[in-house]
């Protein structure tokens, strides 16, 4: 009989969802540079990777995270108000997304899942464009080449192969950019993710596997996906890996920078497991009270990624009224722009359904489009043809 009960596999002491710092014993400990209380702790290996982060940049990372949380809150509200069909909150994962995305260069390329809306913000995606998919106005909101970020992937793990292929292209081009792919703990069970690691290792491609272990794949706990620390799986593929405190923006940035440097200089792929927590539901259609304990959420709230940077800024005497006011103003402005962009987004037209299926004319589809446009026109009233009534 199959079971996900801890202990069945002899690993009761430290499943990968054990957040207390234990681990299964094969890997090194979790990298942390800022404690939940906001204290900067030194790390012999990773300090060097963030030594150049200035006070001002620390403030900027704080601002990013506050703004992203505000985007998340506003989008959730827009969904509740009927303006979005669905929204996948990233609440709690701000440090993982900001710390990694801000380590990238413009010419690096991101292949993400649907929850990396904080990464999209960091890449410079227009605010309203983040919402296009969720409002149902198109299947994606932006041109991937303007921000070097693919549009959200919904098939779990599929994008890891795209990143690996893109990285193979970088190698063929002789460029020094990298590809980074974001996925969750659930995705690590998918064949595509494992196959991507095989290819990346065989070809030593410049790709970073950035796994946000947020502990939950909808209702399934991480222990159902992996009986060892997720980061430790990478060694089986011959890929160096690191487990990092995903709620610590500096630690995430340090680990990502290390991986990027390795990839840029021919060192091949790296696997990063950022241990974080999905504080909200899987999507606005989900109800986590059906499957998880409220105490668990409380534990993680005490490790909030924004609170700890705020704590660090405070300890350093950087949390001035001016900074707080500036960050609050920015978050307000972004929320207003997001809401306006959502509500004012032009609706698609009925015949848009046929657009871009192919890049050149297709006789089958052209005939269907012709017939449907005649059908719509048969209502006589061009207004009616474009209304939902016309489609009924």
């Amino acid at each position: 009989m199959f079971t996900d009960e801890l202990g069945q596999g002899g690993n009761a002491a430290g499943g990968p969802d054990n957040s207390a710092g234990h681990h299964s014993g094969t890997g090194e400990s979790r990298v942390q540079l800022i404690t939940p209380g906001g204290e900067r702790v030194s790390h012999p290996q990773y300090d060097a990777w963030v030594r150049d982060v200035t006070d001002e940049q620390l403030g900027s990372l704080y601002e990013d995270m506050v703004v992203i949380r505000r985007i998340d809150t506003e989008a959730t509200a827009l969904q509740r108000q009927g303006e979005l069909g669905l929204w996948p909150p990233l609440l709690g994962q701000e440090a993982s997304q900001v710390g990694s995305a801000r380590a990238l260069r413009d010419d690096d390329f991101v292949f993400s899942s649907y929850r990396e809306n904080g990464v999209a913000y960091c890449r410079g995606v227009d605010l309203a464009d983040i919402l296009t998919v969720w409002r149902g106005n198109a299947s994606s909101g932006w041109d991937p080449y303007t921000v070097n970020m693919a549009t959200p992937q919904i098939i779990i793990g599929a994008q890891t192969l795209h990143a690996t292929g893109y990285a193979m292209g970088i190698q063929n081009d002789g460029a020094d950019s990298v590809a980074i792919t974001y996925f969750g703990d659930g995705a690590t069970s998918e064949g595509d993710v494992n196959e991507a690691m095989v290819f990346a290792a065989s070809f030593q491609s410049p790709v970073i596997f950035f796994c946000q272990n947020n502990h939950w794949a909808i209702s399934e706990p991480v222990r159902l996906q992996s009986h060892i620390r997720i980061a430790d799986r990478a060694s089986g593929f011959g890929i160096p890996s690191v487990q990092v405190d995903g709620n610590d923006v500096l630690a995430v940035m340090a680990a990502t920078r290390e991986a990027i440097e390795r990839a840029r200089h021919g060192g091949g792929p790296t696997f990063i497991e950022a241990v974080t927590y999905r504080m909200g539901p899987h999507t606005t259609a989900d109800d986590p009270t059906r499957y998880r304990d409220a105490n668990e959420l409380e534990d993680w709230a005490a490790k909030d990624p924004i609170a700890r940077v705020k704590g660090l800024l405070e300890r350093k005497g950087l949390l001035t009224e001016q900074l707080e006011a500036q960050v609050a103003a920015k978050a307000d402005a972004v929320a207003r722009e997001l809401r306006a962009g959502c509500i004012n987004m032009p609706d698609p037209q009925p015949l848009d359904i046929f657009k871009h299926v192919y890049s050149t004319p297709n006789s089958w589809l052209d005939r269907q489009e012709d017939h449907y446009s005649r059908y719509l026109a048969s209502f006589g009233d061009p207004e009616g043809a474009n209304s939902e009534e016309g489609a009924r």
């Binding site: 299947s139 994606s140 098939i155 990143a163 292929g165 064949g191 991507a196 095989v198 297709n362 089958w364």
Partner: protein, 336 residues
């Protein structure tokens, strides 16, 4: 004009594409050092290098998924799936990614990927080596699907498929790989007959017989045999399975009034069903009889000692022609 085998003709077309476009990259299992299990890519890695003719690990989904990433990067990947029955692990990447990315990204990202698939039976192989999975892909929006029947088309159409900005599933009839034919390598694929057009390969006036890939040869043989009995069969090589060139089919059926379709794939929900339905819709009043399908059975591809019962052969096709003509046939006396 040069006499060459089907496999050699594809090899020559691939070579031309590799020469003409530095973004063309070949990927697959055993295609490099070995030159492919059918030797279709023989010598290409030696001449173009390991970075352009890539031996991949054995993971079909990854071959397809990394091809997607390479296409994102501006490459034009040509993927070999070693055997038809091995395409299913790549099904999700083909159907959910390759086929949909242009639509998903509103035209910003092109997927000029060619997927070469040796398909069909008749070579005495074990399971998974003789399948005809084309209908899964003709049913998938966003893909173009073609099949070639002769060395000249193989040479020309592989280059057209690679040049296409849309993804193309390219079905190669593996039992014809060693057949020889005349190939004119000076033909410019850009001005040759488009891969989207069907071709009338034998003119006739009594019955339209539609085939593609491996069965075009069988259909031509059937037309020759029927001619001895005074029956004039018009054979059409479909070439493009999605979209189908219905204009060419319609013109033929309006002339003959009778339609017989043959493919190795099973009957129910197969491409023949689409052809029969569409031709019936488009030229119902020109039809003298119901369209007839002569196909593989709705069985898993059978073990090799029985495969010749499964594969439509000359006699079974002619029996179908008789049915279309209302002549005595194996089903005479049965209603419907």
């Amino acid at each position: 004009m040069t006499q060459m085998t089907f496999a050699r003709a594809i090899n020559s077309g691939l070579r031309k594409s590799l020469e003409n476009d530095p973004k063309v990259i070949l990927m697959g299992e055993d295609i490099g050092t070995l030159g492919g299990v059918f030797r279709v890519t023989d010598g290409l890695q030696k001449d173009f290098g390991k970075h352009r003719v890539v031996d991949t690990p054995l993971a079909e989904s990854a071959i397809m998924g990394t091809a997607v990433g390479l296409a994102y990067r501006g490459y034009r990947p040509v993927v070999e799936i070693q055997f038809d029955g091995f395409i299913y692990p790549a099904f999700d990447q083909i159907v959910s990614q390759v086929a949909k990315l242009h639509y998903r990204t509103q035209g910003h990202v092109k997927m000029p990927i060619t997927v070469r698939v040796p398909f069909g039976g008749g070579i005495g192989s074990p399971e998974h080596h003789s399948e005809s999975p084309e209908a899964y892909f003709t049913h998938t929006s966003g893909l173009r699907v073609v099949s070639v029947s002769n060395p000249q088309d193989a040479y020309t159409m592989i280059q057209q498929a690679i040049a296409s900005d849309d993804p193309v599933l390219f079905f190669e009839p593996k039992r014809r790989y060693h057949d020889k034919g005349e190939v004119d390598e000076s033909i410019d694929p850009a001005t040759a007959l488009s891969m989207e057009k069907a071709r009338v390969v034998t003119e006739g006036k009594d019955v339209t017989l539609v085939a593609y890939g491996p069965l075009v040869k069988t259909a031509k043989d059937a037309a020759l045999a029927a001619a001895d009995e005074g029956v004039s069969i018009e054979v059409i090589d479909l070439r493009s399975l999605a979209p189908v060139d219905f204009a060419t089919l319609e013109a033929s059926v309006r002339k003959t009034g009778r339609l017989v379709i043959t493919h190795e794939a099973g009957q129910s929900g197969g491409l023949g069903a689409e052809l029969a339905a569409s031709i019936t819709e488009r030229c119902f009043y020109h039809l003298e009889a119901a369209p007839v399908r002569i196909t593989g059975f709705d069985v898993p591809y059978p073990y090799s000692k029985l495969e010749m019962h499964h594969l439509p052969g000359l006699d079974r096709i002619l029996d179908g022609v008789d049915r279309a003509l209302g002549r005595p046939n194996s089903l005479s006396g049965l209603e419907g």
